[in-house]
């Protein structure tokens, strides 16, 4: 048998020449993929993962210069002619991209798009092609395989679109399948079903899979072997089990310890560990040191003067570090105790009652008569909540479930249709413009996208001092002094005040945005997916910052996220929302352990766990959140509920059930609490 690996990448380097200077995206990447195995490439953004994947496809722009070698079945790809390369790409190597919505042509039916691939590379007649398409759709688990080909991409959900992309990639039975973050834009519930599909592909097709992702949980779920990349280098390569059990590179160990652990029983007792600093700048070209040295707790003089080479440490494992034998669980500091706030009673700051919001207006066919043609989207439906002082309320749900609308209604950026908000017992106006200065300064918000939260044309200083000048009535100079102290408090150098936002990294920008929110000295900060767009190491830094500020100032957070690991780490209370309704609401540990609402249960089982030995929970949700235009006749979750009872779920709205022994924990479900407990045991 041929012992040559399917794909062998040796010392790959990719340099882009741009008008602004050279960028070395990949420096020394080396790995192999064999038939029938999944190699996961993991690392933070800017570490060259995707560039590596594109280099393997030969898809780099002409401004890029590659070094090293990529050989496919022993043949160097760079020596191939254009024709051969084209042949190779379609027939032998296929790729699935991150964003299925832009990868599919929106004006062509998906069946035709898949057929296009087939007719390009395989010699089949029309009926055989039709059959092949149906067969492909079946193999990727699309329902309704006969008809689904007649639909346009926009008629499919994100998960279905990604399935179509995978079907296209599989069309010519490729030998190598490259998947570049295929589940990153999808909800956890959809992600879980796609990961199931990838895991089953591994067994069905005799191909090598190169799986690129930043998510360690996903890697643990699908990969056989893992290559960790940092600043364009592969720093560690190993069997997935060994890597998670005993990482040999300090970076790997750091990554693993700064991910909030996925939901499990009990309170989170120790704080997250953090990797200080940011990813090594790609514009630097010298490699006469270990690139990780400045962030590494084990670094010594050798690390800053000599660039370490990959060394073999046992079967199939390589690591690029001088001190790999010293890496242990405490490399990044021992466990730091967290102060438990569970039993601390605190007064309520903010109460929301019956918050309801609709987008769009109801329209009749003929002005005031006839049937309704345009129904409003019921984004929020009678949401009640209570916000204790100094605590954190986590709100979770899939995209489209109304989380962000709730956040915007609380801060007053959208005017809620109905319901009331009370701040310390006083009624709050629904729009921010009509609130008093005092009320405005009491509630601030941090947004998901740090780059968009700062005006690109204003210096950091000019954004930050506004709040001081408006709310604390300070003059310009005093405000600048306060801004400088604030910058230090969020861990940034005050010299940053003179910079424009574009001169800062994403993590730094988010710190500035947080500083801006704290500038008004607020009682409540609403964080809408505030850490979702950040890399794990930066995410841990930002979460710690938020935690420190809260302990110091005693403010409350409303923390909106789709990441259940993060929500478990930060929250005292959790609200699970679905389709604008509260599914479950209660203290954090109570919500995340059984008995729970079937929706919470499904969310929990979908979370990829960064532990390769964990057995995936088979409970899955199909489809997506309904559009919420029609009024629900029965339970809001009935259309997707895996635990649905007979008729009652379709005809009656679910009752609010309180959990015996814990009056603050409520579940909106028809199934009796005891029965829920039994089926979830």
């Amino acid at each position: 048998m041929n012992k040559e690996p399917l794909l062998k990448v040796e010392n790959l380097s990719v340099t882009f020449f741009t008008p602004r200077g050279t960028v070395t995206a990949v420096r020394e990447a080396s790995f192999e993929v064999s038939r029938g195995e999944v190699l996961g490439i993991v690392g933070e953004s800017g570490c060259g993962k995707s560039t590596t994947a594109f280099a393997v496809m030969g898809y780099l722009p002409t401004t890029a210069e590659t070094g090293g070698s990529i050989s496919f079945e022993g043949k160097d790809i760079s020596s191939l002619s254009k024709e051969d390369l084209r042949e190779l790409r379609g027939n032998r190597i296929a790729m699935v991209y991150q964003d299925p919505t832009t990868s599919l042509n929106p004006s062509m039916k998906i069946g035709i798009q898949v057929q296009e691939v087939i007719s390009e590379h395989l010699n089949l007649d029309q009926t055989a092609r039709d059959e092949k398409v149906v067969e492909l759709f079946e193999s990727v688990g699309l329902a309704d395989t006969d008809q689904v080909g007649d639909r346009y991409p926009h008629e499919l959900s994100g998960g279905m679109q990604q399935r179509v992309m995978i079907a296209m990639a599989l069309a010519c039975d490729p030998d190598l399948l490259i998947m570049d973050e295929p589940t990153t834009g999808l909800d956890v519930t959809t992600e879980a079903t796609i990961l199931d599909l990838v895991a089953s592909l591994k067994e069905r097709v005799n191909a090598g899979i190169l799986y690129v992702t930043h998510n360690l949980g996903v890697i643990a779920r699908v990969a056989d072997r893992v290559a960790v990349m940092y600043a364009g280098q592969t720093v560690e390569q190993s069997n997935v089990k060994d890597l998670f059990a005993s990482p040999k590179h300090p970076y790997t160990s750091g990554l693993l310890s700064c991910v909030p652990k996925p939901p499990g029983a009990g309170e989170v007792s120790s704080r997250l560990k953090r990797i200080p600093g940011f990813v090594y700048s790609l514009e630097e070209s010298d490699v006469s040191s270990c690139l990780f040295a400045e962030r590494c707790p084990l670094a010594d003089s050798e690390c800053t003067t000599v660039s370490p080479a990959l060394k073999f440490i046992g079967q199939n494992s390589e690591v690029r570090c001088f001190h790999s034998d010293k890496v242990e669980p405490d490399t990044w500091g021992g466990a730091e105790e967290r102060i438990s706030r569970k039993d601390v009673a605190s007064p309520t700051v903010l109460t929301g009652t019956g918050i309801t919001h609709e987008y769009g207006k109801r329209r009749k066919k003929y002005m005031a008569f006839g049937p309704d043609i345009d129904l409003p989207v019921r984004a929020l439906n009678k949401i009640d909540f209570e916000m204790p002082q100094g605590k954190t309320l986590g709100i979770v749900g899939e995209s489209g479930s109304g989380k962000s609308t709730l956040a915007r209604a609380v801060v007053g950026l959208v005017k809620a249709k109905d319901g009331s908000l009370q701040l310390n017992g006083k009624e709050l106006d629904k729009t921010v413009e009509k609130r008093s200065n005092e009320d405005k300064s009491a509630i601030q918000m941090v947004f998901q996208n740090p780059t968009a939260s700062l005006n690109p044309k204003l210096k950091i200083k000019n954004t930050l001092i506004r709040s001081f000048m408006r709310f604390s009535k300070l003059n310009k100079q005093e405000s600048e002094e306060r801004a400088a102290t604030l910058m230090e408090e969020v861990g940034l150098d005050p010299s940053y005040l003179e910079r424009l936002p574009s001169e800062l990294s994403g993590g730094e920008q988010q710190r500035v945005a947080i500083a801006g929110a704290f500038a008004t000295n607020p009682e409540i900060i609403v964080a809408d997916e505030a850490v979702s767009s950040l890399d794990v190491s930066v995410q841990a830094q930002v979460l710690s910052l938020l935690e420190d500020r809260q302990q110091e100032l005693g403010n409350s957070y409303i923390f909106i996220t789709h990441d259940l690991g993060v929500v478990r780490y930060v929250s005292d209370d959790i609200m699970v929302v679905y389709a604008g309704h509260i599914a479950e609401y209660g203290p954090s540990e109570a919500v995340l352990s059984s008995p729970s609402h079937p929706y919470t249960e499904a969310l929990l089982s979908a979370v990829p766990i960064p532990d390769p030995s964990a057995k995936p929970n088979p409970l899955r949700l199909e489809g997506a959140v309904p559009t919420m235009r029609e009024e629900f006749t029965g339970c809001f979750f009935a259309s997707r509920c895996p635990r649905k009872l007979e008729s009652i779920c379709d005809t009656e709205a679910p009752p609010i059930q309180k959990i015996p022994g814990n009056e603050t924990h409520v579940i909106n479900c028809h199934i009796a609490i005891e029965d829920l407990e039994k089926i979830q045991a």
Binding site: G412, E433, F447, N449, A452, S453, N455, F471
Partner: protein, 306 residues
């Protein structure tokens, strides 16, 4: 001199250098593309003509010389002479000043009004947006030349304004609807961004949001729009001059010159062609300049022009 005044002087010098660097930096934008380079050089030539015009004319532009009527272009009279024996080159040079002055100020006025109305109505939305935009639609429904004629006739009867200022006002008003629509749509793309929402949460007043948060972020759009409108303003001013509504004779004016020599087209075509040619090159120069900015800032191709 104590230390603080030295420091103050130093910062003043610094500020000056920074401003200078900003201006030269801005000028580099059109220079990145070929069309921008050509456009900018045409504009540079015309700027010299406009600024130093009175010292560049070989003859007095309004002087009659009835012995040399209808003379064809020669070394004495580079562009020839007209029906009154006046030197056409001198008249073209002298006429540049008024048309450029009127168009530039008129465009600036239109851009100013359009920016204020556009950003405010884009940001506020709701009934303000509805009323402002319907008013703009109303103005848009007149062809700009017709609207200009109407406003000038009214203006001449009802006000004591000078004709040049009337034309400036008319250009400003006639171009406001187009400008405000373009700028409004640019403002709409900035409005939902988080930093604008943050400003709302900070309780910023309207003028701050319009001028400090939104305006700097759509400045490129406004720049391109302004240079594009300038060429339309030039054409409108020339058309008004041609129709006799601009500067009155004997002051040289390109539109008027074309009109006056129209009857002698077979005898002395140069008399009409020279101002027309001057007009054409200037407009092409402005258009190339605006294309140059648009290309190097990578803004989308222009929507339906008017």
């Amino acid at each position: 001199m104590n230390a603080s005044t030295v420091r103050e002087k130093a910062t003043a010098v610094q500020m000056f250098v920074v401003t200078l660097a900003k201006i030269t930096g801005l000028l580099k934008i059109p220079l990145r593309t070929n069309s921008g380079r050509i456009g900018l050089s045409v504009l540079a030539v015309y700027s010299i003509v406009v600024i130093f015009g009175p010292w560049l004319t070989p003859y007095i532009p309004t002087e009659y010389d009835l012995d040399h009527r209808f003379e064809s272009p020669s070394l004495n009279h580079l562009f020839g002479t007209d029906h009154n024996g006046r030197d056409i080159l001198s008249r073209v040079i002298a006429g540049a000043r008024s048309i450029v002055f009127i168009s530039v100020i008129g465009t600036a006025l239109g851009i100013f009004l359009g920016t204020i109305i556009g950003i405010t109505s884009g940001y506020l939305g709701g009934w303000f947006d509805q009323i402002a935009m319907r008013a703009m639609d109303f103005l848009l429904s007149f062809p700009s030349l017709l609207l200009a004629l109407l406003l000038i006739t009214i203006g001449l009867q009802r006000t004591s304004l000078d004709e040049s200022w009337l034309i400036i006002a008319v250009i400003g008003i006639a171009f406001t609807p187009n400008n405000s629509r373009v700028i409004r749509s640019a403002a709409l793309t900035i409005k939902p961004l988080e930093f604008v929402q943050n400003a709302r949460l900070r309780g910023e007043p309207l003028y701050h949001i319009v001028l400090r948060e939104i305006l700097p972020n759509i400045a490129p759009v406004i720049g391109v729009e302004a240079s594009l409108r300038l060429s339309f303003a030039l054409l409108l001013t020339a058309s008004l001059g041609f129709l006799g509504l601009g500067v009155q004779p004997p002051t040289p004016d390109w539109g008027l010159m074309v009109n006056e020599s129209r009857t002698h087209l077979s005898q002395a075509p140069w008399a009409s062609l020279a101002p027309a040619f001057a007009m054409g090159t200037l407009v092409i120069g402005v258009n190339l300049f605006s294309d140059g900015i648009r290309q190097s800032l990578q803004l989308p191709e222009d929507r339906g022009q008017k």
